[in-house]
């Protein structure tokens, strides 16, 4: 497994290095609402089954054994940046961005180098759409307890 990073990901990690006094580490982790994703932590203790799989500047990227097995060879995904709110404890979320993985480890040539989130999203005044219909009768009597 070999993970690379986009230029923008390197910029974000470098920015966080100026904001945090501890040692930064990127770990590739999994599960639940993050799916498989990179996490940038300060003073993180890698698990015993983790090994380095790349770097972002001076910051080492670690991945657990089972993920390394799923992404053999040197065509691993690339770490990039999404301009979206972050759910995790990943420290770059304080910048209002989130490190993400792009590419499948197979062929990412068609993917954008930078964030795929369009920046042209309209941010006008709050918009409220109406609710349509009503709860189906079969669910009306349901009592969760």
């Amino acid at each position: 497994m070999l993970i690379t990073a986009s230029a923008r990901a390197a910029e974000v990690v470098a920015e966080m290095a100026t904001r945090r006094s501890g040692t930064l580490t990127v770990t590739i982790g999994t599960g639940c609402c993050e799916s498989t994703a990179p996490f940038l932590y300060e003073d993180f203790l890698p698990g015993t089954d983790m090994e380095p799989v790349g770097s972002v500047g001076d910051v080492v990227i670690w991945a657990p054994e089972y993920l390394r097995r799923l992404y053999p060879g040197d065509q691993g995904p690339r770490i990039d940046v999404a301009d979206e709110l972050g759910e995790s404890l990943s420290v770059e979320t304080e910048l209002g961005v989130r490190l993400v993985l792009r590419g499948s480890g197979l062929d990412s040539t068609g993917e954008p180098e930078e964030c795929a989130v369009p920046s042209a999203t309209v941010r006008g005044p709050a918009v409220s759409r109406p609710v349509v219909g009503s709860i189906p009768p079969e669910l009306q009597g349901l009592r969760l307890r």
């Binding site: 639940c32 972050g86 404890l89």
Partner: protein, 503 residues
């Protein structure tokens, strides 16, 4: 100016920095409002409020009956405001109004009621019979930890907020909650309920903001006594490390890649519904979704036909329409993740037998890229990425098997162990399989049936501890053994024999 403010020490307040972030309707990407953006200082402020409320306020001195009264009142108020909460939940999270109405709001109120019952029925003091050291008298006091923080994911923000505040408050703790940034609104609205219920100031605090600052503080601050988190396995690992600084107990409900086993004696009509509901409910954004269907070879082809036929009938549309079965994913980023894994699936397995793209023909104004069709890959190798990694989207992997032993081995071949199902016409056979599954919950001829009254949590890397049930209450209080020696005079003590009669 924030439309949705932080709830700290009984009041709605702006963040210390004055910063906000925009929360949007994921179906349209149009703004819903501005949310106060908490940073480390706001987290400290909320923790201090909870600390003061615990140390100096009336809360921990209340009886279980009195604490239960507050929780019941909050449940009553939540139910009275059910339509408003359901609409806000659907609008903010992308979950359907149908789900919010029948599951999220009543489930949240039900959790508060259940933990109210726990506070009433499980006494703070238990006298112990007999004595290992006669004539001593012994009892156990069950005491709250103090300040309990809860970090809540985006998929069930209101429900899981109540899963965390309910037992914490019922046991006499105070609480600081942080919902996910995408879906902060309904958890913040709980402050209104707390105010109206007359909850003492500081007992419940809710902040919204990035996990990298506010969340880190909630897991590490020395004034926090216990941390509960629902979310990714990697963040769970991080929380354990942050909490270890002051040996805080942690409750973690983490990832899953649950197996739903369809035996050859199953009622395929019901089993297909259980697999579709088990996978595609809330777009698969459920930790215990049964995203691996392990199907007996003798019924495999027939079952696939049923799945494909019915998956195509699932209605995708505005989450605010009661006719919609599925709305948008929670965010563009989550939809991108699904697209990435479907491409991985195409390389590993080939074309999905249904889905594999965004839906067509959505109503005007809906952002097609944030929606995704129910997608099924057949003939999946359990060792593949799409079968091993949690996608958290509407993607089902179907894996064939021949023997029960093989099905169990496939199901257990995962780092996770959160949920699972067995679909069978033979309950004894299904239960024998359930006994051997390494997972916290097994549904037989059903799926996703989670009740506040039953424990929920994970084996292996799916978590630590249990939420809900009696276990989910007890985990929020600690036992103190009090030993009393009623003797008078030297005869009633063993000290003199154990050391010296001269002491």
């Amino acid at each position: 100016m924030a439309d949705f403010k932080l709830f700290i020490d009984g009041e709605y307040v702006d963040s210390a920095s004055g910063e906000t972030f925009t929360t949007t309707d994921p179906a349209t990407e149009q703004p819903i409002g501005e949310v106060a953006k908490a940073d480390k200082e706001d987290a400290k402020r909320a923790i201090q409020a909870a600390r003061t409320a615990f140390d100096d306020g009336p809360w921990k001195g209340l009886s279980g009956e009195e604490r239960a009264g507050y929780l019941d009142k909050m449940a009553e108020l939540l139910t009275a405001n059910a339509e408003r909460f359901a609409e806000a939940e659907a609008r903010d999270s992308g979950g359907t109004i149908k789900k919010a109405t029948f599951a999220d709001v009543p489930g949240a109120a039900g959790a508060l009621q259940w933990f109210a019952r726990m506070a009433r029925e499980r006494p703070d003091r238990q006298d112990l019979e007999g004595s290992p050291f006669p004539p001593s008298e012994n009892y156990v006091r069950y005491e709250p930890y103090g300040v309990c923080t809860g970090i809540v994911p985006f998929n069930f923000p209101l429900l899981m907020a109540c899963w965390k505040l309910g037992p914490a408050l019922a046991a006499g703790n105070t609480s600081v909650l942080k919902p996910a940034s995408y879906t902060s609104v309904t958890a913040l609205m709980l402050g209104e309920i707390a105010q109206e219920a007359g909850l003492p100031n500081g007992v419940l605090n809710v902040i919204a903001g990035p996990g990298g600052t506010a969340g880190e503080e909630l897991a590490s601050n020395e004034m926090v006594d216990k941390v509960a988190f629902t979310g990714s396995t990697e963040v769970g690992r991080r929380i354990m490390q942050l909490a270890s600084g002051t040996i805080k107990p942690v409750t973690l409900e983490l990832g899953g890649k649950s197996a739903n086993i369809v035996l050859d004696d199953a009622d395929l009509d019901i089993a297909a519904a259980a697999v579709l509901f088990g996978t595609f409910f809330h777009n698969g954004q459920v930790c215990e979704s049964g995203t691996r269907a392990i199907v007996h070879k003798s019924v495999y082809d027939e079952f696939l036909s049923l799945l494909v036929d019915r998956a195509g009938k699932i209605v995708i549309g505005s989450q605010l329409d009661f006719n919609s079965d599925l709305g948008p994913m929670v965010s563009r980023a989550q939809a991108d993740t699904v697209r990435r894994y479907v491409e991985i699936g195409r390389e590993e397995v080939g074309e999905p037998i249904c889905g594999g793209s965004e839906p067509e023909g959505l109503a005007d104004g809906l952002v097609t890229e944030n929606f995704y069709r129910p997608t099924i890959f057949a003939g999946v190798d359990n060792e593949s990425r799409i079968a091993q990694e949690e996608i958290f989207g509407p993607v089902l992997c179907v894996i064939p098997f021949e023997t029960d032993d093989e099905a169990i081995a496939i199901a257990n071949k995962s780092i996770y162990g959160l949920g699972g199902g067995v679909q069978s016409g033979n309950v004894a056979r299904a239960q024998a399989i359930a006994d051997r599954l390494e997972t916290g919950t097994v549904w037989i001829n059903d799926y996703h049936m989670i009740s506040p009254e039953r424990p929920f949590g994970g084996y292996k890397q799916s978590g630590i501890g249990r939420e809900l049930g009696t276990a989910g209450f007890e985990i929020y209080r600690q036992a103190k053994h009090v030993h009393t020696n009623p003797s008078t005079g030297r005869d009633g003590y063993m000290h003199f024999a154990a050391l010296s009669g001269n002491i």
